[in-house]
């Protein structure tokens, strides 16, 4: 049984046709490799009928595959075979969107827009590659770490005097896949106006630039190149003092920053009140007028003397204690969660974020749809693959 998702949100009580999935009737062919999986997942979650194509024997057991290809129909066919190519063209004749990650000349030919539009002029063809389909690096080989490097993200993560870092869970593919979903739907909107499909080309390198916030404006306007900040916040004090961001606690770390301004005032006052209630030594914190406090003028010695008692206090807390009490006190700051913390977060449970579906070993718990629509989280309607087949394989081995 698939889990039914009940009403959990605010918003209107729609009925009738308005309750239909937003992308109902939208047929999507997903010929992507790892770089594109999220694109089809997002479209499926929004109500599209997404078919994922994998060659016979291709591994579909990894957590990444299953998490990002849930809610799609799996068809085992290799588009490189003549039969697979014929099937592709047959499917393309009636589909709305085809998504691919062409990595070779043959694949570029297979998913070529001119070729496919002759089959179906309303078809939208989305190509996701590391660098796009034109330009001097079109043929360059890149996986997540090279794309994160090319997009500037690694230059901004890590210790200032250490190696540039990537996030240890692949991110550039998620950026590329999510931008591909935006591009596909933009082309769908255009089709209402033109009556035709078109080609959408996603550069994963460009997609990663989305993650850099406004860092490029420093280069553009002031000639200053932002660099890695490590685990401390710099640039907030005219003295060059650095402020701690990550504080060791009993079971990990807390992200907490001594801010100024209205939000900082509330947070700092509440922190001191909390410390006082727990009988902690306040050090210099007890004498600070938080209404007048600004982090911009403090020397490193002053920052260090403030942070000493804060560090002792936070060191006595667990992540969950901090999360709950900081929320109650309307303080800024969050624990540095790991996947176990996230899995147990009552906020996500209350909003029905997780969804259980059949898996190879019984039930597997997936991230649900990212948006609550008209007060209801759209349910995932398909498990990640033909689980019966996986069970048989497991028994045989």
């Amino acid at each position: 049984m698939l889990q039914q998702t009940g009403r959990i949100g605010r918003g209107p009580s729609f009925s009738g046709s308005n309750m239909e999935p937003m992308l109902q009737g939208c047929m999507v062919l997903d010929y992507t490799g790892r770089m594109g999986w999220l694109a089809g997942r997002l479209l499926a979650d929004l109500g599209a009928e997404v078919t994922k194509f994998e060659a016979q024997g291709a591994d579909v057991s990894s957590a990444d595959w299953r998490a990002l290809n849930v809610n799609k129909r799996l068809v085992r066919v290799d588009p490189a075979d003549p039969d697979g190519r014929r099937a592709l063209d047959q499917y393309a004749a009636t589909a709305d969107i085809l998504i691919a990650t062409p990595a070779t000349a043959d694949e570029a030919d297979l998913y070529d827009y001119a070729r496919l539009s002759a089959v179906n002029k309303r078809l939208i063809v989305v190509a996701i590659t590391p660098f796009g389909l034109t330009g001097p690096k079109t043929g360059w080989q890149a996986t997540d770490i090279e794309i994160m490097a090319a997009g500037g993200a690694m230059a901004l993560a890590g210790e200032p005097d250490g190696a540039p870092l990537r996030v240890s869970a692949t991110q550039s593919y998620a950026w590329a896949g999510s931008q591909a979903a935006v591009g596909a739907l933009m082309a769908l909107a255009a089709r209402w106006r033109t009556g035709r499909g078109q080609r959408v080309v996603v550069s994963a390198q460009s997609a990663v630039i989305t993650a850099l916030s406004h860092a490029p404006t420093f280069v553009d306007m002031l000639g200053i190149t932002p660099t890695r900040a490590g685990a401390y916040m710099t640039g907030r004090s005219v003295t060059g003092a650095k402020y701690r961001v990550f504080w060791p606690c009993r079971d990990g770390y807390i992200n907490f920053i001594v801010y100024g301004g209205a939000a900082g005032r509330r947070t700092n006052e509440q922190l001191v009140a909390w410390m006082r209630e727990r009988g902690f030594d306040l050090g210099p914190l007890g004498d600070i007028d938080w209404a007048r406090f600004t982090p911009t003028g403090a020397s490193q010695a002053e920052v260090d003397s403030m942070e000493l008692p804060i560090g002792r206090f936070i060191g006595s807390l667990t992540k969950r204690e901090f999360l709950e009490e900081a929320h109650r006190r309307e303080m800024l700051g969050y624990p540095v969660s790991n996947t176990a913390d996230i899995a147990a977060d009552p906020q996500l449970e209350a909003r029905g974020f997780w969804q259980d579906l059949p898996g190879p070993d019984g039930t597997e718990r997936h991230c649900g749809c990212f948006v609550v629509v008209d007060g209801v989280r759209p349910p995932l309607v398909r498990p990640a693959d033909d689980t019966g087949k996986i069970r048989r394989q497991a028994r045989e081995t």
């Binding site: 106006r193 490029p216 770390y253 969660s337 996947t339 909003r351």
Partner: protein, 406 residues
């Protein structure tokens, strides 16, 4: 190509809110032809205007901030005092005029202003409204205030960045806000698609936290399934070796990875260490991981005398996954990004020429564009209220005199 046809031609959007999470959605849609009106007030301008540098000539000013303009190009800017009853009436007129409202206030605030979805759809039944905030509109912590930079820690990103035995690392800016804005844009476009079919609107409740988790979906499924907790691993990858960054001449670095023994052999040939490529002990992934220090020494000895971009070109020519670690400055000179016209320069009345970020995807028939710089505060009041809403000069002057546009 359909010269002049825009993907979102005729789509009208009003934004109530500020900073990144709401306005970045509007920017993405404005770049493909939507008419987007960004609402602020004289007393409460967008927080990105004054709270975040850089500023023109490093001098803070309400209209000199590049952070604000960077996320609000191609939009119209108006001021409405939402604390003023006449201002709220004006805001209501805008909401009646538009197809989509985007707001990123704390949950409940837009309702208290009389601009909540239930209220607005009484007079605009086809309205689409996107509400985006830290935790979503419901749940025990729905009212949590917070910045995206800290929410990135709660959602697991910071804990997954850094060395295994070291502290978590910051990601630049409010990383998770841009995950949520990108996903939020897909939700808005999907709602538009349904409206085209059915005529019906939609209320979209986006939790930035939940959006972020989709970017870690595999790690979360792994935990739920096996109990294995994902950990930060510096630059290691379980399926590749070597896999990391290497210091080059000057301050440059390259990132590279080898996904097969053949690729490793090509790498060894390119760095004049064919002996390593022939070493049977290094012919397997496990062997190369066990010999990481030896391989990294050889790589570092080669890279430290070479400029990063040149080193990357050489290794790519040899068939090895590699790229220079682009600094943010490099993004303006990278020939690939230049070829893609990643940056569009537009003139702002105070800042002057500024580079704006082009979309990450290209549409062949209805291409996107940065059509204008970000607006100065209240720049388009007359245009929007008179031309878009059809107010007469007398009506406009009257609401202005009542302080509605303060």
């Amino acid at each position: 190509m359909n010269a002049g046809v825009l993907a979102l031609d005729g789509v009208k959007i009003v934004e109530f809110g500020g900073y990144a999470a709401g306005p970045h959605v509007g920017k993405m849609l404005a770049n493909f032809g939507a008419t987007v009106v960004h609402v602020e007030s004289m007393s409460r301008p967008d927080g990105f205007r004054m709270q975040y540098p850089p500023y023109k000539d490093d001098k803070p000013g309400i209209n000199s901030g590049g952070c604000f303009t960077y996320f609000n190009d191609s939009k119209y800017g108006v001021t409405i005092d939402l604390k003023n009853p006449e201002g709220r009436k004006l805001a209501r007129k805008l909401a009646d005029w538009c197809d989509i409202v985007i707001e990123n206030m704390r949950p409940g605030v837009i309702d208290r202003l009389g601009l909540g979805f239930e209220e607005l759809r009484k007079s605009n039944p086809g309205l689409i409204m996107l509400s985006t905030c830290n935790m979503g509109q419901t749940g025990p912590r729905a009212d949590t205030p917070g910045f995206g930079s800290q929410l990135s820690a709660l959602a697991g990103f910071c804990g997954l960045t850094g060395a295994k035995d070291g502290p978590p690392m910051l990601l630049y800016g409010p990383y998770i806000d841009y995950v949520a804005s990108t996903l939020g844009a897909t939700a808005v476009l999907a709602a538009l698609e349904r409206r085209q079919r059915t005529g019906n609107g939609a209320y979209l409740d986006v939790s930035q936290y939940e959006c972020g988790l989709l970017f870690l979906a595999g790690s979360l499924l792994e935990y739920h399934t096996s109990g294995k907790i994902a950990e930060r691993a510096e630059n290691d990858d379980p399926d590749a070796a070597p896999h990391g960054t290497y210091a080059c001449l000057g301050e440059g670095w390259i990132a590279l990875s080898c996904w097969s023994s053949e690729e490793f052999a090509r790498l060894c040939g390119a760095i004049d260490r064919a002996d390593l490529g022939r070493d049977p002990a290094l012919a397997t992934l496990a062997g190369r991981k066990a010999a990481a220090a030896r391989i990294n020494d050889a790589l570092n000895a080669w890279t430290r005398d070479r400029e990063a971009h040149e080193a990357a070109r050489m290794l790519q020519a040899a068939g090895v996954h590699t790229h220079a670690v682009n600094s943010v400055a490099d993004l303006f000179t990278d020939p690939q990004l230049i070829a893609r016209r990643q940056w569009s320069r537009r003139r702002h009345p105070v800042i002057g020429d500024q580079a704006y970020c082009a979309p990450a995807f290209e549409l062949s028939e209805t291409p996107g564009d940065v059509t204008a710089s970000g607006p100065v505060l209240g720049a388009d009041n007359e245009r929007v209220f008179r031309d878009f809403l059809g107010m007469s000069e007398d009506e406009f002057n009257a609401v202005r005199a009542q302080g509605a546009t303060d």
